[in-house]
Amino acid sequence: MYSFNYVKPGSLKEVNDFLASNPEARPLAGGMTLIPTLKARLAQPSHLVDISALEELKGIEVRNGALVIGAGTTHAEVARSTHVRDAIPALAELAFHIGDPAVRNCGTIGGSVANNDPAADYPAGVLALGATVVTNRREIAADDFFQGMFTTALEPGELVVRISFPKPRRAAYEKFAHPASGYAMTGVFVAQTNGGIRVAVTGAGPGVFRWSEAEAALAKAFNVAAVASLTMPAADLNEDIHGSREYRANLVRVLTKRAVARLAGR
């Protein structure tokens, strides 16, 4: 870790001002990605701006039929929230399966979504549920927000403030944890929303994506057979020492099938 300066502003406005005048500063929430990056000396920010205690980023509430989660809410808080469990139980389940207790007690939804790790769990939930990412400047639809590996629509100095999830009719998340890291080697979030069936895949590709063929097939018939006959093209998926792209393509299909089975069985 290189040395850095540490600041802890008292309000979101102060954070905005500080980041605007210090382009090399980085906001620090749970630090579950940033701290390991610093320890490996892969980043050298001028300042760490601690936003972990900002009240403006906290809280979980149901507002106008949508579940609204503050960006600074930890995975553990989401996992045990009765609001989340009532409104979108699949999201609580997703949060419960992130990392280990230490990670869940530190890591935040805003950090996960802003980082857009291609193997993170939350992007699948945000995308499949058609959520809206609210920043300190604007509102961004999930379909526009995620732009590939570690890339989002966020501009310099733009912070995720909260995420608003419209309540789906039903939803399920199936995750195949990476044997070593515990990240999603593949994760599939299937949601029946008012806007139709949405299937979002994380881990398998260079970034979270929607599997449109599965969405179309499930729109016609929401059952396991509709997915079982599909083939996920492997060409654009990830391949590494832990598994081939064909293996990941298989996992996408199998996990989608299992998510649908859980929903169809309900």
Binding site: R41, A180, G243, S244
Partner: protein
Amino acid sequence: MGDHLFEVDGVHVSRLEDLRLITGAGTYAADWNLPGQLHAHFVRSDRAHAKIVSIDTTAALKYPGVAGIYTGEDAVRAGYVRGVTFLNFKGKNDMEGRIPERPAMAHGRVRFVGEPVALVVADSALAAQDASELIRIDYRDLPVVIDPEAAVRPGTAQLHESVPENTPFEYEAGDKAATEAAFAKAAHVTKLKMESTRVVPNPLEPRACLIAHDPKNESYTVHVCIQGMNMMKRQLSAYTKVPEDKLNVIARDVGGGFGQRSTAYPEYCAVMIAAKATGRPVKWVSSRTEGFLSDTHGRGNIIEGELALDKDGRFLAMRLNWLADMGAYLSPAGPVSHIRNPTTCLTGVYKIPALYGYWRLAVTNTAPIAAYRGAGRPDIAYAIERLVSNAAAELGIDAAELRSRNFIQPEDFPYKTPTGTTYDNADLPGVLAKALELADWKGYTQRLSATEKTGKLRGIGISTVIENTGAGMYPKDEVELEVGKDGVVTLYTVAKSQGQGHETTFAMMAAKVLEIPAERIKVVQNFNDRALIGNHTGGSRSMVGAGTVCHIAAEKLVQHGKSLAAEALGIEPSQVSYGAGEFRGPESGMKITLAELAQKREVKIKGEGTFGTTYPNGCHIAEVEIDPETGVTDIARYMTVDDCGVVVNHAIVEGQMHGAVAQGAGQVFGEHAIYDKESGQLMTATFSDYFMPRAGMLPDIVMAEHATASRINPLGIKGMGESGCTASLGALVNAVIDAVRPLGIHHLDMPLTPAKLWTEISAKRGTARA
């Protein structure tokens, strides 16, 4: 001799060290600090094989806080160019081992990614690391050799001038001609090429040292993680030529060893150079990734095996062709453990009339390989047990029945094997019968059909193994007992627990004889003020050796105490009796306690013993279920029946077994140190990429004991710290192969990851459909 010899009223003695360890009160290598200490950071090679053209430290030396920078030139100047390698026997055709030099920091050439090249010491660890980035090293790349089979092929680039064909040693054991003759008349031969994968031991505690030099008497104080002080002193002394009595090695708690902590690493010697040069204590704490790169690795053996059987399924002969990857340099224990341990148990638990094994060591541009829990024993057992199960499947004989048909029988013990080993004692049919019952072997077909209804695959695997434990490199094990004025007995030993629980078990051994609570025995495993001869903790030896001497020493203390008590009481020693911490005379009231005696005069004695090798054995049976859709294996059932002789503490034995089975399962299902074949970079240098076994992988292990007393150890004890690894590799892989054999798969190498199993299963099923 009762099973519960060392358990008071049938109650487990809980581990005396646990409160300290689980409340964070342990003192590990990185917990030590000395006034005025400097902090060290190593610059490590970022390439696998290269000539060092130049090292420019000018800018780094000017960095604020830097006290010194040292390189391979300093190591060569100090004469720290060769560690000890225990290869003191001759090889094939009287070959002498070719042991290449390894300066404490690379000199002229780097040979693996992570090899230390320079050492920066500074006022803070941060400054040392900052400054290290200013060091400019100019390399000229050389061809990279990763694959050990390619390494020994003629024409491959050579790592060391002194090691032609990258082959430091060749060795053979057994009778080649008799083996060939037996193969010629065999009714059936089964063949397998098996890899016991290279793994990273990964103790929880990272490597660290804090070293101070005392110019007054040219001595060093070395705080470091160890498996025993004598072994560390001996190796450090061999590397640096500093006499052992000038090395004060200090360790309190050690967070895991597995063989990886017995080595005197070059980094320690480099820190000694810096401590002497700066005149200040120097502290180094390894990062986890440095550990992955530069701590010794384990296993790394490619074994081609053949088993010859007659028409009745009796074993006629076995031959092995064994290639052992040693990494870039020969570690102290790597060569001997990967040759001698397999040779010792080359016949396994079977009567095999003719045996032949050929070993070849290879050097490659990878981290050196050393002993890792079992150190060659799991590898030989794995090879034999895979061959036996494969033969059983090919011949359509029940895998347990084929084993039973070939067992060494109880009346054969002590049994002299064809490679000259004498197994002390075992009841293999008894072990097997108990295991088959425990596992409900006969009921397996019902469980198989139940699994098949779910669309999953099920397999059952068995392994029956034996291994050498005890012995050691020192001629005897000594233990000293000293009675304090408060009656507390201090027990000095040079064995060192890295998790084995000596503070409990050694105390129990002495407490049983002295008839005082184990809590009244204080076990001290590290001291520099008294020279005791004895082995480090490794090779499953400490209860067989030093632990047993605790018993002997306590008996000697009672005898010695009787004569002292007689003098104090004014009677003849023969009139003194001892019980529960008190010496008593013939008349009532005529008594003196241990404490009172110690208040009058010094009460201390030294006990010793030499016991040779004991042979624990056992049978493990595993059942697995494989989800063909994802390739995920679930260990559905796991049963063990072990004979480790007389058990001192059942809870600790069970814990050792759990841990070792988990490590075996880790190797079987995921652990794998993977180097990129072109660049030589370690692809699995963090826990994000390197799989570790997790508790959830294992079901509740069903365990039973089937003890036969060792005939070597006077208390009937056999070692057992590694046997769980030795038995589990074969049992688990046999179970997985049993599950996929109906698809036409007769062997897969570890690790049996979900991706690998899915790929193999779906390929076979695809072929079947076409």
